[in-house]
């Protein structure tokens, strides 16, 4: 047994009240679904059923869009911008006040460690509302002309990896710019969005400005193709993103897509090795690798390969996998059985194609969906695990010899969402950043987010930006 064995330190669940069932949040109220269909949301760490959630059909989506349209026309678009800002500030403050509750709920429903939901997801979600509240009455100074107007009703579909944070990325700019929204959270993680609906009520937000419809792919399809929707924003897989782009072609709807990624995290020989190793770990094992901008391809300069790999393996032995609500957990549960199957399939393919698989000794819980932190070495550009997005705690390690080779390998992917560069040499950072085809290039850090920093992709990672001044453009008629 370890000398210093950390005793369990679980965050209490008492702060959270989960209702047995949830309706759809339409026109400021929770309403029943038209056809009475429902689905269950579970805790991926234990497979415990948390709540029953209404599955919105086309008629429900229709009602939600109508409510959003009415709110847009009657109150929201015509409201003095400084008053819109007041609502957003109020929402931001309530998110902060209820931060602990939201963090516990997020970890329960998503499986992510409480350390991350507490220190990253929820504070950043609040920060997005604060940031965009500030923009609401200053849009004329955003560089999009003297009086940029809203677009109308936004239909927004978000993923399960950062449920409340992705909601904030979508709703905060939309509302700040004067749009109203119908948002569909992912079917495996609807609970924080439904709690956010309560927060809208608590903030006295005019009915219909925010509508939340729960459901799976069918509901999402009904929402994005609804003729009453003026603008569609989607974050999720490239496959579904392409489908949406095809469906919306020629409709005149505005569309932004934030899709998959296969980011290269590039470590040069003069990198600060200990911090680079932290960055590699944070790049791929943060949120179990369920991050579209995850640093899933590690490119290491050959001259420091042995040193980096040895340090990385040693560091991975200290990762603590287990109960997401334990405050000392570093790696939580995989979000769903389907995602776990996908990670297993791709990892097995990696082995079959000849890459070497390694995981630190790590006991997986019996119930729930779990996958150990995994590193593949001996990976080449031709392997599936170097090309396809795994969306799990699986790192593929490749090597390079020169900066030019690093750029070539990093860019040799259909994706282009993010990249990381590790070197103590400032000029090399700038040289690399100019050549990497990725929406975000992190230097000597990874997976850092801020509401003032625009985020979005190149190539098949999507188009449009979220956050910062650039992100406003997606919700303004410019």
């Amino acid at each position: 047994m370890a000398k210093f064995d950390y005793a369990p330190a679980p965050e209490s669940r008492d702060i959270v009240t989960i209702r047995p069932s949830y309706g759809l949040f339409i026109g400021g109220e929770f309403t029943h679904g038209t056809d009475g269909r429902a689905f269950k949301t579970i805790s991926p760490a234990t497979e415990e059923v948390l709540a029953e959630v209404t599955e919105a059909g086309p008629a429900d989506v229709d009602r939600a869009v109508a409510a959003a349209r009415a709110a847009y026309q009657r109150t929201w678009a015509g409201m003095p911008p400084k008053d819109r800002a007041k609502y957003l500030y109020r929402i931001a403050r309530i998110v902060q006040e209820r931060a602990r509750e939201l963090a516990v709920l997020e970890s329960l429903d998503n499986g992510k460690p409480i350390r991350e939901s507490r220190d990253v997801d929820i504070p950043l979600a609040a920060a997005h509302f604060f940031y965009h509240a500030g923009w609401a009455d200053k849009l004329e100074y955003a560089g999009f002309g003297p009086a940029p107007g809203p677009l109308g009703v936004a239909g927004q579909v978000i993923p399960w990896n950062f449920p409340l944070l992705m909601l904030a990325w979508k709703i905060a700019p939309a509302l700040a710019c004067g749009n109203t929204v119908v948002l569909k959270p992912a079917e495996t993680t609807p609970l924080t969005a439904l709690t956010f609906a309560e927060i809208c009520q608590q903030a006295d937000l005019p009915p219909g400005v925010v509508n939340i419809v729960t459901g799976a792919g069918e509901t999402g399809r009904a929402l994005v193709t609804h003729p009453g929707v003026d603008k569609v924003a989607f974050t999720g897989s490239t496959e579904v993103g392409k489908e949406i782009a095809r469906a919306l072609a020629g409709t005149g709807k505005r569309l932004t897509l934030e899709l998959g990624g296969k980011a290269a995290n590039i470590v040069f020989e003069d990198a600060p090795i200990d911090q680079a190793v932290e960055g590699i770990v944070n790049g791929i094992f943060f949120n179990q690798g369920h991050v579209c901008c995850a640093g899933s391809r590690l490119l290491v300069q050959e001259s420091v390969y042995d040193q980096v790999l040895a340090s990385l393996r040693r560091r991975l032995r200290t990762l603590r996998l287990g109960d997401p609500l334990d405050k000392n957990t570093d790696v939580g549960a995989i979000n769903s059985a389907a995602q776990l199957a996908k990670i297993r399939e791709l990892s097995d393919a990696g082995e079959a194609e000849g890459a070497r698989r390694w995981s630190p000794p790590c006991e997986l819980p019996v119930k729930g969906f779990w996958f150990p932190p995994t590193v593949f070495t001996g990976v080449s550009q031709a392997h599936r695990i170097a090309r396809e997005e795994i969306f799990g705690p699986v790192l593929s390690v490749l090597t390079f010899r020169t900066p030019a080779e690093a750029v070539e390998k990093a860019n040799n992917t259909p994706y282009g969402l993010s990249a990381g560069v590790w070197t103590e040499k400032g000029s090399l950072i700038l040289w690399m950043a100019a050549r990497l085809r990725a929406g975000v290039v992190w230097a000597n850090t990874f997976n850092k987010f801020d509401p003032s920093s625009p985020f979005g992709g190149y190539k098949e990672s999507g188009y449009g930006r979220e956050g910062g001044r650039h992100g406003l453009e997606a919700y303004l008629d410019v």
Partner: protein, 369 residues
């Protein structure tokens, strides 16, 4: 002792060839580890481990034999009310008081450590420094805490620093025999508050280890900032990497500014997850402190009794003055009278919770849930 030729010639190259330290990343890592939540059995273990790793220190101009004797009694039996409390690792005094401590601690298992080499500034000639060391060792010091010549280090005169450490290393062995088995263990104080950058901390750590240090120590306690988590993180990485490269284990001692049990536990977490559990031993990790001991004892008694006892239940055989405000004063909110005891069983305890580095109960080592 002279360095092997390759080290002598390549000292600068090897120190500047070490990987850089990114300050932002190192601070983020230290902060992340500081948010570990240490509860119940783990906390109990950590409190006892921390007590057993303390170098109980008095380094004041006003130190007297009586003061040192009192400190030694405290070191041997920290909690008179509870004989299960472990004894501390060592008592650390000025060289002229070593004979007092050595007499008091004989046969107790508590070691005698002495600062030397014109502590704390180190601004004296080598002869004076070596005489300082020899007098401490002759008086019975088991361990010598020397200071490096920071001026020489910052001027890039690495060889001078190396030679001085090597000479002190030799002076620690009065019999003139090489190796660490005989003679005093050598702790090398880097005074990281004067080295400023983490790159310097890493280089100075390697320099000291190459020159023969048994321990690398952050600070004298006379310069602010003294020990910090990021500095200690970098030093723990250095001893870890040094053992891998050279096969010799070197200890780490943060000193100065560690005053609360919560702070001490954070350092133990840092050791555990950076250098590894081989270093979780008084032989390889020490905390230079004085007022820390009473906070550890208070938390320990609180774990056993389920409530806090008042500060008067713990002996004050500690240095008369602290460079900064002691922990008990910091923790007391404005307006609350000193020494007031609230001990209502079942509640969290009389002492108010200190603000954690991360709000939201992240680092609640002092609270039980």
């Amino acid at each position: 002792m002279t360095a092997p030729a390759d080290i002598r010639n390549d000292l600068r190259c090897s120190l500047h060839g070490l990987p850089g330290v990114d300050r932002v990343g190192a601070e983020a890592r230290a902060a992340a580890l500081a948010s570990r939540s240490i509860k119940t059995t783990a906390k109990r273990w950590a409190l006892d481990a921390a007590i057993s790793m303390i170098d109980l220190t008095t380094l004041e101009g006003q130190d007297t034999p009586g003061k040192v004797r009192a400190l030694c009694a405290k070191a041997r039996r920290p909690d008179p009310a509870d004989p299960t409390a472990p004894k501390v690792a060592a008592v650390c005094v000025y060289p002229d008081l070593v004979h007092v401590a050595a007499a008091e601690l004989k046969g107790s298992g508590v070691r005698v450590a002495s600062v030397a080499t014109a502590f704390p500034s180190g601004r004296a000639s080598l002869d004076v420094k070596l005489a300082d060391v020899k007098s401490a060792v002759a008086a019975g010091a088991d361990e010598v805490d020397m200071v490096i010549d920071r001026g020489a280090f910052l001027a890039g005169a690495y060889q001078a620093v190396y030679d001085e450490i090597a000479a002190v290393r030799q002076a620690c062995n009065p019999a003139g025999t090489a190796g660490q088995a005989s003679g005093a263990r050598l702790k090398v104080i880097l005074e990281t508050g004067e080295l400023v950058t983490l790159d310097n901390v890493r280089r100075a750590s390697w320099l000291a280890m190459l020159a023969g240090a048994d321990f690398i120590k952050t600070s004298t306690g006379k310069v602010a900032p003294a020990a910090t988590l990021p500095v200690t993180l970098v030093m723990l990485e250095a001893v870890r990497d040094f053992r891998e490269a050279h096969g010799r284990q070197v200890g780490v001692k943060p000193a100065g500014g560690i005053r609360t049990a919560k702070d001490a536990i954070r350092y133990l977490v840092l050791v555990n997850e950076t250098a590894g559990e081989d270093w979780l031993d008084p032989c390889w990790f020490r905390i230079g402190a004085s007022s820390l001991l009473n906070d550890l004892l208070m938390q320990r008694a609180r774990m056993a009794a389920g409530r806090y006892a008042g500060p008067d239940y713990f002996t004050l055989d500690l240095p008369g003055r602290e460079p900064c405000r002691p922990a008990c004063a910091r923790a007391r909110p404005e307006g609350r009278p000193r020494g007031r005891v609230r001990s209502r069983p079942g509640l969290r305890g009389g002492r108010p919770r200190r603000p954690a580095a991360h709000e939201g109960g992240s680092a609640g080592v002092s609270s039980e849930r």
